[in-house]
């Protein structure tokens, strides 16, 4: 059975801290791994990763994929209160239907 597991499930940090969120997966026919940020409403797209070892970066956020060890990490440096959200990891296991398999999410709270 395909599975995506995120850790930790929740995290509380203070502004300025650096955080690392983890995502491991067991999915047949891996195509890509995606990170989403979810604040109050709909998830919004952050990154898509398809190749091992290539870091994707956007401002203070970065992510990397290890296809040998079947995991990805999402790093957030110099955290701000606006980074407080649920971070979702999802894996695409089939190119025919576009179905994403989601992890449980990591709830990040950044305190002032």
């Amino acid at each position: 059975e395909d599975k995506v597991v995120q850790s930790p499930l929740s995290l509380v940090v203070h502004e300025g801290d650096t955080v690392t969120l983890n995502c491991s997966y067991e999915v047949t026919n891996f195509r890509s791994l995606l990170w989403y940020k979810q604040e109050k409403k709909a998830p919004t797209f952050l990154f898509m990763l398809t190749s091992s070892g290539i870091e994707k970066k956007s401002g203070r956020l970065s992510s990397i994929l290890d296809k040998k060890e079947l995991f990805s990490i999402l790093n957030i440096t110099a955290t701000q209160t606006g980074d407080s959200a649920v971070y979702l990891c999802a894996v695409l296991g089939s190119s025919n239907t576009g179905k994403l398999i989601f992890g449980q999410g990591t709830t990040l709270q950044v305190k002032p």
Binding site: R31, S32, A90, L92, G98, L100, G103
Partner: protein, 115 residues
């Protein structure tokens, strides 16, 4: 620039009642999905459609039905609501080639409570 629109946004039902959630997208996307989100369980796929007139089951289809009569609309029905269906429901859509990469475009969610 509406994107993906879900209606209604909130609904309270009694056990046994029926209802339909409507998802509409104006991006000409082929693929559409219904997910439910429960605390600590991420997003779980209920049903999906790869084109007008097609539907397929996801991970948790029991108790739900769907229809895709028009390309832009994807309806999710609950024939006899149960308390276990209390959840936040998200509709999403994507292009076929995005199906290769996986990026989905989400609606803002519909919060359903079944008493």
């Amino acid at each position: 620039n509406a994107g993906v629109t879900q209606t209604p946004k909130f609904r309270v039902l009694k056990t046994g009642q029926s209802m339909t959630l409507l998802c509409a997208q104006d991006m000409n996307h082929e693929y559409m999905y219904w997910y439910r989100q429960d605390p600590g369980m991420g997003l779980r796929l209920i049903h999906y459609s790869v084109g007008e007139g097609t539907t397929a089951k996801g991970e948790v289809p029991d108790g739900y039905n769907v229809s895709r009569l028009k390309k832009q609309n994807f309806l999710l029905g609950l024939e006899s609501a149960a308390p276990s269906q209390t959840s936040v429901y998200f509709c999403a859509s994507s292009y076929p080639w995005t199906g290769v990469t996986g990026e989905l475009f989400f609606g803002e969610g519909s919060r359903l409570t079944v008493l």
